[in-house]
Amino acid sequence: MRNLVSFMIAIISVLSLTATAAPLEYKLQAEQVAEDTWVLVGKLEDFSNKNGGNIVNTGFIVTDEGVVVIDTGPSLKYGRAMRKVIATVTDKPIRYVFNTHHHPDHFLGNQAFSDLPILSLPKTKVQLAQHGDAFAENMYRMIGDWMRSTEVKLPTETVEPGVLALGGHELQLMAYSGHTGSDLVIFDKKTGVLFSSDIVFYQRALTTPHTPGLKVWLEEIREMKAFNFKLMVPGHGPVVKGMEALEQMEGYLAWLDETLSAAAESGMSMTEVIRIPIKEEYRTVALSQREFERTVAHIYARYEEAVF
């Protein structure tokens, strides 16, 4: 039997060697979604060792005077890969890099752009300085070696809402708040593309760790519906032409808010609330059950407080 054991051990070691020997590579692909506009679509998953945190949509706009980058991904390695992809599309220099908000999958690639102006809303910069290191630590725990050498690189400048004109594009910068308290939404007036950042999740459940409140978020979704865009790039999920992503957000946020209110009013405890089944039409949305459970942890105490 001892022989058998050593044989098994040998097989296991060979298997784990081949597993760890494969180089970690994001294999990013830029998809042209409109004139001058490319998107790198992430997976509809949670952070994992397997996906390296590539669960986010990043993008870039190639103007006559250079490139505008929107979000830098979850790690230094992603940021570098993204920069390579941009170089395959255009030889124009990168002019600006935006961080739409302070969540780790949107800014931890900043180091790969450290020679360039990195811009965010003022509050986002404050939030990054406060929570960035903790986010990075947590990412090391969740995706491991993909994070190698990644450190927090803060935005170099802050921007106020307004219009940024560059190389024939006018980018309208708007400050929203529903997802994290400071969410930059970018509308390209030339192409009609709306980069909604994580104000919109589509076919992937929304996350709530820093939301100022579901009602605030819902209000902003309704505002966005009045916007005359031709194409929407959500922070997570497929690019869409119509209202389907906003309608899913509106319906899901409203359901969440009503469900948590009703639960608090009937005195339910948190462990009971997390067992409430997701409304049927949202069950096929990726990670809806898990994110619902997280949302209860994030905000149910506020609903309880309102009932006391």
Binding site: P209, G267, S269, M270, T271, R290, V296, A297, A301
Partner: protein, 250 residues
């Protein structure tokens, strides 16, 4: 093959044990030690009717919701002891439910890492029935300073309670919240300061529920429990380890 090895090991081990112990269904490394701490040499059995309801993951390790439900053994309970195997302070609460109260309690706790969370119910026959669930966590909840440590709000509101009664089809539910830092003593320069005792009394003067709490109970505790008779009036009395007492009609 793994089974063969385990069988060999067992057959070697059994003769030296007076009683073959039931294996821990949660396979926690500290089960035997915890059992000695909380159950001692008393007879026990694992019993999945004793529910410990938890989320899968501790999203906020300073506020993990836990519900312990021993209704399956109603009327036959001496006390319920709840603990977290891998917390630096394991004991969460000991609960002495009166037959008039449903032996089910919900509160929130701090956890330091992923751990088995147990509830052991001692019946009147002297047998412990042990239930439990595993909680996954990134950790750090016990050695994170309370929010109160950075904010003097609690000093002028210590012991303030809010409560609400929710009538149910049968009986009713009380939920109350009390302002208290619940400091564990594990954070540098912040001494332990926590509510040790909670007593729920009926207007007939019965102690319906007595809870002894320990440091892992979360800051500003929110506690939920269910009564069988919703015609009675109730009040709650608390005392912390600093000797402060608080009382309020529910």
């Amino acid at each position: 093959m793994k089974r063969t090895i385990a069988a060999l090991f067992l057959s070697a081990a059994v003769p030296t044990l007076a009683l073959a112990a039931e294996p821990d269904p949660l396979e926690s490394p500290l089960w035997d030690y915890m059992r000695q701490q909380f159950i001692g040499q008393d007879p026990y059995r694992f019993d999945d009717r004793i529910k410990v309801n938890l989320p899968e993951f501790a999203e906020d390790p300073t506020q993990v919701p836990v519900t312990v439900d021993a209704e399956a053994l109603k009327g036959n309970i001496q006390r319920i002891v709840a603990w977290a195997d891998l917390n630096p302070i394991q004991h969460i609460f000991t609960y002495y439910p009166h037959p008039q109260i449903i032996p089910r309690v919900s509160l929130r706790i701090k956890v330091q890492q992923g751990t088995a969370i147990r509830a052991a119910v001692l019946t009147k026959e002297g047998v412990w029935h042990v239930g439990g669930s595993y909680l996954d966590a990134a950790g750090g909840g016990c050695t994170t300073p309370s929010a109160a440590a950075g904010n003097p709000y609690w000093e002028s509101h210590l012991g303030e309670m809010k409560s609400k009664f929710f009538p149910r089809e049968q009986g009713g539910r009380y939920k109350f919240k009390v302002i208290h830092p619940m400091d564990t003593g594990l954070v540098d320069a912040i001494p332990e300061f926590y509510i040790e005792q909670v007593v729920v009394r009926s207007d007939q003067g019965d102690d319906l529920a007595r809870l002894k709490l320990s440091q892992p109970v979360s800051e500003n505790p929110v506690i939920t429990f269910d009564v069988r008779d919703n015609t009675q009036k109730h009040s709650v009395w608390l005392r912390d380890n600093g000797g402060n007492e608080f009382e309020q009609a529910l």
